[in-house]
Every structure is written in C-alpha cells, then in structure tokens.
C-alpha cells in the first residue's frame, strides 16, 4: 500500500485525543497513513484551513458543518462530518462574584441537577448574565440556549459572547463575562487560576451530545474514498484504545506534552477520568461519562443528531424549517461504507429518537451486541427527527 500523509487540523483540547493518539500510538500507521497534525489558533482559522485545502480533515465543532450548509457564518465550502470524535465534555462555570452569591444562598454545587442550577443562578443574578463560549456555532451555545429556554433562567436573561478559551479566565477576571461554557481543559484552567467555579457538566443538559466531529471537504471525502476509509478506521481504533480504563494515564501523558496541550497531566486527567475539581476550595465531583470517545456507537454520525442541530440553528436564526439537507452533512452512509470491514458493531438504523433512552438499551446492530447508553435531555423532552415540531 502506498503510504500517504494526510494533513489534519485540530484545536489543542482534551477531545482532540483520538487524532493525537492515532498519530502517536501507530493506529494511523497500521492503516498505512501518516497524519500531519496542524494545531489551529482559532476555530475560524481551522475552518478556513479545511475550506481552502491547507488540510484535508479537521477536528471540528459538531454544529459547524451543519451551519455552513445552512449558509450561516463565513465560507460556503461543503463539508462532511464523517464520524463523531467525542460525546459530551463541556463544562459550565461561573466567575467569583456569582460563585460567592451562590454560596451565600447555600447552593450545594451538586454538578448534576441542571434545573436546580438554573434556579439558583437566576436568584443569584442581578441582571443579564453574560456567558462566554468559544464559537458562535458550537455545542456550547446549543446547550446553553436549550438549558436557559427550558428553565427558570429564561433565554432573555442570558447573553452569549464569543471569547477564545485561552482568554476565558482573563475575561472572567476582568468582569467581561459572568460565566462560561467551554471544553476541557479550559474550565479546569479557570478553576486552578482561582477565577471561577464549575457549575454543571454539559451532560447534565444532554447526556448524548455529539461534541466534535471529524470533518472533511465533501469533494475530498467522495474523491478519496480509500484515504477516507483509512482515516476513519485509524481514528476509530484510537478511540477504542482511549475508551479502555488502562489507557487513561498514558493518554493524559501524551496530551500534556509541549507540542499538544502543554499543560500538567493532572489537569488533563480530570476530564478523562470524570473526576472534576469544582473550585479552588478543592471540592471534587465524580461525573460518569463526562467525556466519551467510544462505546454505545459514540462515533456513529447519527442523522438524528445533525437534524437536531439543524432544527435548533434554524430556530435560533429565524430560518425556514427545511433542515433535511443540512442534516445530511452527517455522513452515516460513508461511515457505514468504510467501517463495514471492521469488527465495529454498527447500529441498524441511522437515526433515532434523541433523548428517549433512559437506561442502557439493546438495539438492532450488525453484530447484535450494541447497547445504547442513556441520552436523556435534562427536561425529559424527546426529539423525533421525523417530526421535529
């Protein structure tokens, strides 16, 4: 087999692990490809690098390819989300002034109950709450909006601003923002700098949120099927390794290196182990499934998930409700095609009711062993992709 090097852009985050591990531990090599990992300075740069062909694949916020298909934001290149790289992994946190008021009101920081957290936050706030997020099209924005509109908090009492995560702690300290929703390690960085406390994991709002996807240009995905297949399989093997409990420390070690996250191993391990430190007081909460890389078809690009994203984006931006074309950027067809020769247990369907699984549930699959993990929304709502409402 000819060995080809594929340039892949990523943001230095804990959830870039599948790509970094595929490169470092030889999963890419086993598929006879090399990965040239290119760190991006911002999500817009990452998108441009992919759009203009500087790289052929990228670690991307799951709503970005959907939003681009809908004509939102700059650049109109057609992208394909060929697999999900990670499920969940975000945290919502508050700055010191809010933290102090929440503590004064004897809020327990249970890091679990999203409705109770919203009620406490509403009572502790004195005006509109400004939340920092990494990018206008992100699961961070979607989770915040979903949470605010379905709790006492209310959509009208929050304002969402884009703040690059490395500057999030500064923005909190300067009082530019009151709170934030970011991916790890940035929540833990804010905690360790003593400028904020963690309030909720993203999974307290939606237990099955597709966080990052592996994106390519649609034309590349269709003209380079062989390379695409090798890339998807290499990343899948890497995430299978990442899902093993024994891999955790090694993974944290690799990510902590100077060329990747350049942060202490202990800080990175919090997201991987789900043992989060909430504040400078050192309170620890265990959050099972804080960030998932594999198991329960985590890497499968469900059409119902892109449909949910398209539906939410259309509503937020006052657009017409035909979201089928946008939802089709999650390429479950390509994923099936390229994963068929592996021992992966592929689900029988490409769409499901989102939020309907309350307990681990066996579903029809290629090997008949697939259990889907709970994917509940905090308010118990169920999203039907055939009847988005």
């Amino acid at each position: 087999m000819r060995r080809v090097t594929i340039p892949v852009a990523y943001m230095p985050l804990v959830d870039a692990a599948p790509l970094i591990v595929a490169h470092e531990l030889g999963f890419a090599e086993a598929e006879a490809i090399g990965l040239e990992l290119v760190p991006a300075p911002s999500w817009s740069s990452l998108r441009d690098m992919l759009g203009f062909g500087r790289v052929d694949a990228a670690h991307m916020l799951s709503p970005v390819p959907v939003a681009m298909k809908m004509g939102l934001g700059g650049m109109g290149t057609s992208l394909a989300a060929v697999c999900v790289l990670s499920v969940n992994g975000n945290v919502i946190g508050v700055g010191r002034p809010l933290e102090d008021r929440l503590r004064a009101a004897e809020y327990g920081f249970d890091f679990e109950d999203a409705a109770a957290a919203a009620t406490a936050l509403k009572r502790a706030s004195t005006g509109k709450l400004v939340f920092g997020v990494p990018f206008p099209f992100s699961m961070h924005v979607e989770l915040l909006r979903y949470w605010a509109e379905r709790t006492e908090l209310g959509l009208d009492s929050i304002e969402i601003r884009t703040v690059p995560p490395p500057l999030m702690a500064d923005a909190l300290e300067a009082g530019d923002i009151d709170a934030f929703c970011v991916g790890e390690p940035w929540g833990s960085v804010a905690v360790d700098r003593g400028v904020g406390a963690l309030l909720l994991p993203g999974r307290a709002i939606w237990q099955g949120a597709p966080e990052k996807v592996l994106a390519t240009r649609t034309d590349w995905a269709e003209t380079e099927p062989d390379l695409l297949g090798r890339l998807i399989r290499a990343v899948w093997q890497a995430s299978r390794w990442l899902a093993k409990p024994d891999s955790r420390i090694t993974a944290a070690q690799i990510l902590s290196r100077e060329e990747y996250l350049d942060l202490p191993l202990e800080l990175i391990d919090r997201a991987l182990s789900g043992r989060m430190i909430l504040s400078r007081k050192g309170e620890q909460r265990d959050c099972d499934g804080f960030l998932r890389f594999q198991g329960s078809a985590a890497t499968f690009p469900w059409r119902s998930q892109s449909k949910w994203l398209a539906h939410r984006l259309a509503a937020a931006h006052g657009m017409a409700a035909d979201t089928d074309a946008a939802a089709a950027v999650f390429r479950s067809d390509l994923y099936r095609q390229h994963m068929a020769q592996t021992d992966a247990d592929l689900p029988g369907a490409s769409a499901k009711l989102e939020g309907a699984i309350l307990h681990p549930t066996a579903v029809a699959s290629s090997r008949g062993e697939l259990n889907l993990l709970p994917d509940r929304f905090f308010d118990g709502a169920v999203f039907d992709p055939d009847d988005p409402g």
Partner: protein, 194 residues
C-alpha cells in the same frame, strides 16, 4: 466623491500596528483605527462602524469576529468574511499572507482592493521577517549542537576540531542525514551514557 473607508486593525503589537497603519494611510482613501486590547472586542469594533476589519490569521480573537458576521451581532451592518465573489482570488492571497479581512456587506470590490493589496503586502512582509527570524534562531541552535558534538568527539577520540567536523560530516553523508541531526543524536546519546 465617495466617502472615506473606515478600517479597523486588530493588533496587539504596537510596532506591527504602526507599520500597517502607515502603509494603509498612504493609500489615502481611508481612516484607520487600531484596537490593541482585546477585552470587549466586539463592542469596540462596533463603535467604529468599520467598513473593513483586518486581523492576523493566527490571532485567536478572530473567533470573536465571527460573531459580527451574524445579523444578530452587535454591528447593525453585518460583515462578511472576505471570501466570495469577485474578491475570491484576493481572499486566498490574503490568507496566504496571513491576514483575514472582514468586509461590510455590499461594499464594492474595487473599493476594497487597494486596501487589501496594501494589507497583503504588509502582512506578507511581516510573515517573511518572522520566518527569517525563526530560521536564524534554528540555524543558531544547530550551530550550538554541532559545536557540542565536535567537543565530544575531540575529547573522546583525541581529534582536532577540523577532524571532528569531518567525521560528523562523513557520518551524515553515509547515513543520508543532516549534520545537525547526527550531532543531535550524538549529544543525546552522550547525555544518556554520561
């Protein structure tokens, strides 16, 4: 007579910002403002109601600009990233030069072009200087490693400096590697054994 264009340059480094402003002023057709402090960036940009915003492509605060591309952003005039239509070729050039430009919707391409040409030239120059600096630094580092490797060989094998360098060069040629890489390997090995 057309109105003058308002250009905002987002740049922390004062010297770089001054260089860009001076170059743009020479085009004569625009007022240029610099924002060097990124807190409340979107609000500060909106206060200037710019026609064009220029920002280094490697600047992480670029993502804040994306917010302005949405109609619901704090600018009442939506800006678009400079990528489409007649300006498409320019956009690629700009990205290669390391500058991203956001342009108010509906601004005629021929009005944008002089500003973009200047910005592209300026950013290319800075990028080239940056690359040269990095190259000089790398060359210096290599020099240091080669000197240490020579020192190790002189001591271990009783060679003079020229003979030590000749040995390094011959080994590199035989193995099809760079002298600096062979020197690096030797220094690392010596460190492990020492």
């Amino acid at each position: 007579m057309q109105n003058r264009l308002t250009v905002v340059v987002v740049e922390e480094d004062r010297d770089r910002a001054t260089g860009i402003v001076d170059a743009l002023m020479k085009t004569g057709d625009c007022d240029v403002y610099v924002i060097g402090n990124y807190t409340s960036l979107a609000r500060k940009i909106a206060e200037h109601a710019p026609d064009i915003v220029l920002i280094d492509i490697d600047n992480p605060t670029r993502d804040t600009m994306e917010e302005l591309t949405l109609a619901s952003g704090p600018l009442d005039r939506p800006v678009a990233m400079f990528v489409s239509g007649a300006a498409g070729g320019l956009a690629r050039e700009a990205i290669e030069a390391g500058v991203s430009a956001y342009v108010v919707d509906g601004l005629a391409p021929e009005r944008v072009k002089p500003v973009m040409d200047t910005a592209i030239a300026r950013f290319s120059m800075v990028r080239q200087m940056r690359n040269e600096l990095a190259e000089t630094r790398r060359a210096l580092e290599e020099r240091k490693v080669i000197d240490r490797a020579k020192g190790l060989l002189m001591k271990a094998k009783g060679l003079d400096e020229d003979a030590a360098y000749a040995l390094l060069r011959k080994t590199a040629m035989d193995q099809g590697r760079k002298v600096a890489d062979v020197a690096e390997a030797l220094v690392t090995a010596a460190g492990l054994l020492g």
